[in-house]
C-alpha cells in the first residue's frame, strides 16, 4: 500500500521555533472548495498548506444533503444545465462562467467517483440521478441524503494520501498584505493560543458562507463569513451580496434543513387547508420551482392566514417508508430528534429559512480576485454562477469546479512570484496583529457581549433583510448594523486563558459578520428592483434596462465602503421572463 505522508497527522510544522512558516499557497478553509484547491495546487507542483478553524471533516460542506448536478445522462446536455442555471439565477449569472461550470461538471463528477465517492447507481451500474428544484432534467447525483459528507470525507482521504499539510483548529485573524499584494495569513493556533504567520506567495480563501449573520439559519455555527470579511478588509470587492437565499423547507423552531431532495423524490407542500398550493404559483414545476419562487409562495400563504403556526407542511407520507428510510434517512431522523415527528406518518412543519449566499468575493473563472495573490472559491466567492438565485445541487459543483481551476491557476501564479516579503515585515505585521487581538482581552468589561450582539444582528437581518425587503426596512437595518459596529468596539473578552479560548474567536467572528451584514444591506438598498432572491415590495418588478448588472462593494484603507457596478456577461441566452 502506498504510504501517503505521515506529516499530515502531525500537529505542527514549526519545530517549536519560528513564528513564520513559508509555503507557495496557503488555503484558508478545508471544506470542499479548499480541499479541492489544495489537492490541485499540490498536483501542479506547489508547496501547499491548508488551515481550518475546525477539523476538515467538520466543515459545513458535510451538511449538504441532496446532491450535486451534472449533465451526464442521455437526453441531457451541459447547455440545458446552463440554461436552467441561468434562468434560476434570474439572468444575473455571468454566462461565460456558467458555461465553464456546466460543461466541466461531468468530468469533475467522474473524477470524484474515481476518488471513491459511493454515488447511487442505476440498475446498469452507472451513476443514477434524482430530480431537484429548478432543473428540467433529473441530473442530481447523490449518496443517500449525505452527499456533502460523502464528498467531504473522500476529499479528506485524498488530502491525507497527498500529504498536504493541514493546520487543524487554526483560526485566521487577518491577511498579510504588502504593497497591495496578499502574501500570507495570520492565524491563531487554538490549542496553545499562539499567533503565527503562514507566509505564502498566494492565499486561497475557501472559508464558506455567512449563514449565522441571520438568525435562524440552516448553517452551522461556524458559518460566519470570515474569509469574505478578511478579503474585503484587504481591499477585494465583494459582489452580489444582496442575493441571500432562503430555503423553502427548514424545520420549524430549530431552522434545520429538510433537503430539497424530499421534494425531488415527490413530497408535497400543503397549506392549512390541505391544498398543494404550489399548483397555483408554479403550475408546471410546482414544488420543484426554484427556491426563491417557492419561498415567496410559502410566505404569501402564511401571510394570507393559510399557514399553521407560521409554517406550511411538507408531506412525504405517500412516498412510503422504503423511500424515506433508504433515500432520506437523515431528515427522517432529524424530524424525529427535534420535533418528535415521524414523517412516515405525519407531515412536517417547515418554513423559509436563510440558507445560502450567492454573493461573495468577486473572482474570475480561475478563482482570481482583483487583489494580486488573493484567490477565492466556494460559497465565499462570487464568480458569478448563481446570480440572483442558486439552484439546488449547483453549489457543491461550484466548489469543485472553481476549487480545481483556482488551485491550478494559483500553482502557476506562484511560479511568477520570485520573493516573499522580508522576515522583518512579517514580524512587524504579526506584532501589530498581536496587539489588536490582545486588545479584546485587555479592554474593560462593559455590558456588551459577543453573544448578545450576535443575536441582535441575526434577528435584525432576518426581519429586515429577509424574503421581502423595502427601503425603510433596509434603512433601519443599515442604521442598526452601524450601531452594532459601534457597540462591537466595546465588547471585551472576559476569558483570559490562552488555550482554546473560544470567547476570543467568537468576538473576532462577530467583527467579520458585521462587515458581511453591512455590505449585504448596502447592496440590497442599492438594487432598486426585484430579481432572484431580492424581492423589494417597493420595486416589485425586474428591471433589465437599469439593473442587469452586478453590484460591488469595495473598501479601501480608512475610507467608507464604495459601491460600483460591472455588467452581466451574456453569451447565448438573452434575458427572458421566468416562469415555472
Amino acid at each position: 500500500m502506498s504510504e501517503g505522508n505521515a506529516k499530515s497527522t502531525d500537529s505542527d510544522d514549526r519545530n517549536g521555533k519560528s513564528v513564520i512558516v513559508d509555503y507557495d499557497v496557503i488555503v484558508l478553509g478545508a471544506g470542499l472548495a479548499g480541499m479541492r484547491a489544495a489537492l490541485e495546487a499540490a498536483r501542479n507542483g506547489a508547496s501547499v498548506a491548508v488551515l481550518s478553524k475546525v477539523h476538515p471533516v467538520r466543515s459545513h460542506s458535510g451538511a449538504a444533503q441532496g446532491g450535486i448536478n451534472a449533465a451526464i445522462g442521455e437526453g441531457d446536455s451541459w447547455e440545458i444545465h446552463a440554461l436552467d442555471t441561468i434562468k434560476g439565477s434570474d439572468y444575473l449569472a455571468d454566462q461565460d462562467a456558467v458555461e465553464i461550470m456546466c460543461s466541466e461538471a461531468p468530468s469533475d463528477i467522474i473524477e470524484l467517483e474515481h476518488m471513491g465517492v459511493i454515488f447511487y447507481r442505476a440498475p446498469d451500474g452507472k451513476l443514477g440521478t434524482r430530480a431537484f428544484g429548478g432543473a428540467s432534467k433529473a441530473r442530481t447525483y447523490f449518496v443517500g441524503d449525505i452527499t456533502g459528507q460523502a464528498l467531504l470525507y473522500t476529499l479528506y482521504d485524498q488530502l491525507l494520501k497527498s500529504g498536504v499539510k493541514v493546520y487543524e483548529e487554526w483560526f485566521a485573524t487577518s491577511l498579510f498584505m504588502v504593497g497591495g499584494e496578499c502574501r500570507g495569513v495570520v492565524a491563531l493556533d487554538m490549542m496553545n493560543g499562539d499567533l503565527v504567520m503562514l507566509r505564502a506567495k498566494a492565499v486561497f480563501v475557501a472559508s464558506g458562507g455567512m449563514g449565522r449573520v441571520y438568525e435562524p439559519s440552516t448553517n452551522a455555527l461556524i458559518c460566519t463569513g470570515d474569509g469574505i470579511a478578511l478579503a474585503y478588509r484587504a481591499g477585494a470587492p465583494v459582489m452580489d451580496m444582496e442575493m441571500v437565499q432562503y430555503h423553502p423547507t427548514t424545520l420549524k423552531g430549530s431552522g434545520f434543513l429538510m433537503t430539497e431532495a424530499a421534494r425531488g423524490e415527490g413530497a408535497y407542500l400543503l397549506n392549512s387547508l390541505g391544498e398543494r398550493f404550489m399548483e397555483k404559483y408554479a403550475p408546471n414545476m410546482k414544488e420543484l420551482a426554484s427556491r426563491d419562487v417557492v419561498s415567496r409562495a410559502e410566505w404569501q400563504e402564511i401571510a394570507a392566514g393559510r399557514g399553521i403556526d407560521g409554517c406550511v407542511l411538507l408531506d412525504l407520507r405517500h412516498l412510503g417508508p422504503d423511500v424515506i428510510l433508504k433515500k432520506l434517512p437523515q431528515i427522517h431522523e432529524m424530524a424525529l430528534d427535534f420535533l418528535s415527528i415521524d414523517m412516515i406518518e405525519q407531515p412536517v412543519p417547515v418554513r423559509p429559512g436563510m440558507h445560502y449566499i450567492m454573493g461573495g468575493v468577486k473572482t474570475d473563472s480561475d478563482a482570481r480576485s482583483p487583489v494580486p495573490g488573493l484567490y477565492a472559491a466556494g460559497e465565499c466567492a462570487c464568480v458569478s454562477v448563481h446570480g440572483g438565485n442558486r439552484l439546488g445541487a449547483n453549489s457543491l459543483l461550484d466548489t469543485l469546479v472553481f476549487g480545481r481551476r483556482g488551485g491550478r491557476s494559483a500553482a502557476s501564479y506562484v511560479k511568477s512570484v520570485t520573493s516573499l516579503p522580508s522576515d522583518a515585515a512579517g514580524e512587524q505585521f504579526l506584532a501589530a496583529e498581536q496587539k489588536r487581538v490582545q486588545g479584546f482581552m485587555d479592554r474593560p468589561t462593559t455590558g456588551e457581549t459577543h453573544a448578545k450582539l450576535r443575536l441582535e444582528l441575526g434577528t435584525l437581518m432576518d426581519e429586515k433583510v429577509g424574503v421581502y425587503r423595502d427601503e425603510s426596512g433596509l434603512q433601519q437595518a443599515l442604521a442598526g448594523v452601524r450601531d452594532l459596529q459601534k457597540r462591537y468596539d466595546t465588547v471585551a473578552v472576559r476569558d483570559k486563558g490562552r488555550i482554546y479560548n473560544q470567547a476570543l474567536t467568537f468576538a473576532l467572528e462577530l467583527g467579520y459578520m458585521l462587515d458581511c451584514a453591512e455590505t449585504t444591506i448596502m447592496s440590497a438598498l442599492e438594487r432598486k428592483e426585484s430579481r432572484g432572491a431580492q424581492s423589494r415590495t417597493d420595486y416589485a418588478q425586474r428591471d433589465d434596462a437599469n439593473w442587469l448588472k452586478h453590484i460591488l462593494v469595495t473598501k479601501r484603507d480608512g475610507q467608507a465602503p464604495a459601491i460600483s457596478y460591472v455588467p452581466v456577461t451574456i453569451t447565448k441566452w438573452p434575458p427572458q421572463e421566468r416562469k415555472y
Binding site: 459545513h60 451500474g125 491525507l160 453573544a451 482554546y500
Partner: protein, 335 residues
C-alpha cells in the same frame, strides 16, 4: 423550565483555573486521567431542549470561558461527542429530558482521551488511528477512461453504513479494548478499513486484510458492544469488524492470535463438546510462543488462587459425537 447541568471543567496548569468542586480521581482503567472540577449551572430552556442547548446557554449568558466544540447542532459535523452521565454521546441530539437523572445531567470530556480544556478533548489518537488504516481508495486498474467504474448499487449501499460515520469518536471513547490497549486500531478506523477493503474499486484487498489482521487489529476487539451502542449514526463498527475478520480468514490470514483463538475455540468444542480453557491460551498465542505464554502465567496463578482456574482434567460431554456431526454438516475448516 429549569434544568441543572453539572459540567466537568479543566484548564491546564498555568491557565486561569475554573471554579467548582474538585472531583475524585477516575476509577480504573482511567486512573491516569487528570481529575476535574465540577461546576453546577441552572438554565431555563424548553422541555424538548438538547444538552448542547444548555451548554450554549451557559457559555453565552453565564460563563463565556466554558470551552465546548460544536458546529452543526444536528449530528452532522461530529464535533460534540463527550461523556453524558458517564457514556459517550453527541450532546446536540441528547435531550435534557432523557438524560436528567436525580434532577441533574453530568457532562464532561471523556477520561479515555487526552484533555485540552473543559469539554474539549484532544482527538489526535482518533485521527492517528484513522490514518493508520490507509483510509483512501487505491484504485483498481485500469481506471475507466472518461467514465465511472460500473458497480452494482448494492455494492455501494453496503458501504453507506460506514460512510455515515461522522468521526465523532464516541465509539473510541467508550471502547473497552482501547481503554486497556492504546494501540488498538479502534472501532471507527476499522469500520473505515472495511469501507475501503469491501469497495469493489479498491485494488489492495489482500494487503489491507494482512495489515488489519496484525496485532492491535481486528482480532483485538473484545466484542464489548460499546461502539454499537454509542454510535449516533448506526455505523455499528463491531459489525464491520466482524465482516473484516471473515474476509481475512477467507483470504487465508489465519496465522495470528485472533484466528488461532477462534480455531482453538472451535476445535475444543468439536472434540469435547465444551471449551477447554487450558488449551485455549497456548493455542491462541501459538504453541511454541513460549515468551507470550509465560507472560500469561501470573494471570493463571491469580486465577488458581481465586479458585477460578478451569479444571485441569478436561472431560468431554456425553454424546460428543453429535457435536462432531454438526461440525461435519457445517463443513468448512473444522469437519
Amino acid at each position: 423550565m429549569e434544568w441543572t447541568v453539572v459540567v466537568g471543567r479543566y484548564s491546564p496548569p498555568g491557565e486561569p483555573q475554573p471554579k467548582g468542586e474538585r472531583g475524585a480521581p477516575f476509577a480504573a482503567p482511567y486512573e491516569k486521567a487528570p481529575p476535574k472540577t465540577y461546576q453546577t449551572f441552572k438554565v431555563d430552556l424548553p422541555e424538548h431542549a438538547m444538552v448542547l442547548d444548555a451548554l450554549i446557554a451557559v457559555r453565552e449568558y453565564q460563563d463565556e470561558s466554558l470551552a465546548v466544540r460544536c458546529a452543526c447542532r444536528s449530528a452532522i459535523c461530529g464535533s460534540c461527542a463527550m461523556w453524558v452521565n458517564g457514556h459517550a454521546r453527541l450532546v446536540c441530539t441528547s435531550k435534557l429530558r432523557e438524560h436528567t437523572v436525580d434532577g441533574k445531567v453530568t457532562v464532561e470530556a471523556p477520561p479515555s482521551m487526552p484533555i485540552v480544556r473543559d469539554l474539549v478533548c484532544d482527538m489526535t489518537p482518533f485521527w492517528k488511528k484513522n490514518y493508520s488504516v490507509t483510509p483512501w481508495l487505491e484504485n483498481k486498474q485500469p481506471i475507466p477512461q472518461g467514465e465511472e467504474y460500473r458497480v452494482p448499487n448494492a455494492a455501494m449501499e453496503e458501504l453507506i453504513q460506514e460512510v455515515s460515520c461522522i468521526s465523532c469518536g464516541a465509539c473510541l471513547m467508550d471502547c473497552e479494548s482501547f481503554a486497556v490497549n492504546a494501540d488498538f486500531m479502534g472501532p471507527a478506523a476499522l469500520a473505515k478499513a472495511y469501507r475501503y477493503t469491501a469497495d469493489p474499486r479498491d485494488a489492495q484487498t489482500t494487503d489491507r486484510l494482512d495489515t488489519y489482521s496484525k496485532p492491535s487489529g481486528v482480532w483485538d476487539c473484545t466484542h464489548c458492544y460499546e461502539c454499537v451502542q454509542q454510535c449516533p449514526k448506526g455505523v455499528a463498527p463491531l459489525e464491520q469488524i466482524l465482516k473484516l475478520r471473515k474476509m481475512a480468514v477467507d483470504a487465508g490470514f489465519t496465522h495470528n492470535a485472533g484466528t488461532r483463538h477462534a480455531d482453538a475455540f472451535a476445535e475444543s468444542v468439536r472434540d469435547s463438546g465444551r471449551l477447554n480453557e487450558l488449551t485455549l491460551m497456548p493455542k491462541s498465542l501459538g504453541l511454541f510462543n513460549i515468551p507470550a505464554q509465560l507472560q500469561s502465567l501470573p494471570a493463571a496463578f491469580n486465577l488458581l488462587r481465586a479458585g477460578k482456574l478451569p479444571p485441569l482434567i478436561h472431560h468431554a460431554i456425553p454424546h460428543v459425537e453429535r457435536i462432531k456431526n454438526i461440525f461435519k454438516k457445517i463443513g468448512g475448516r473444522f469437519k
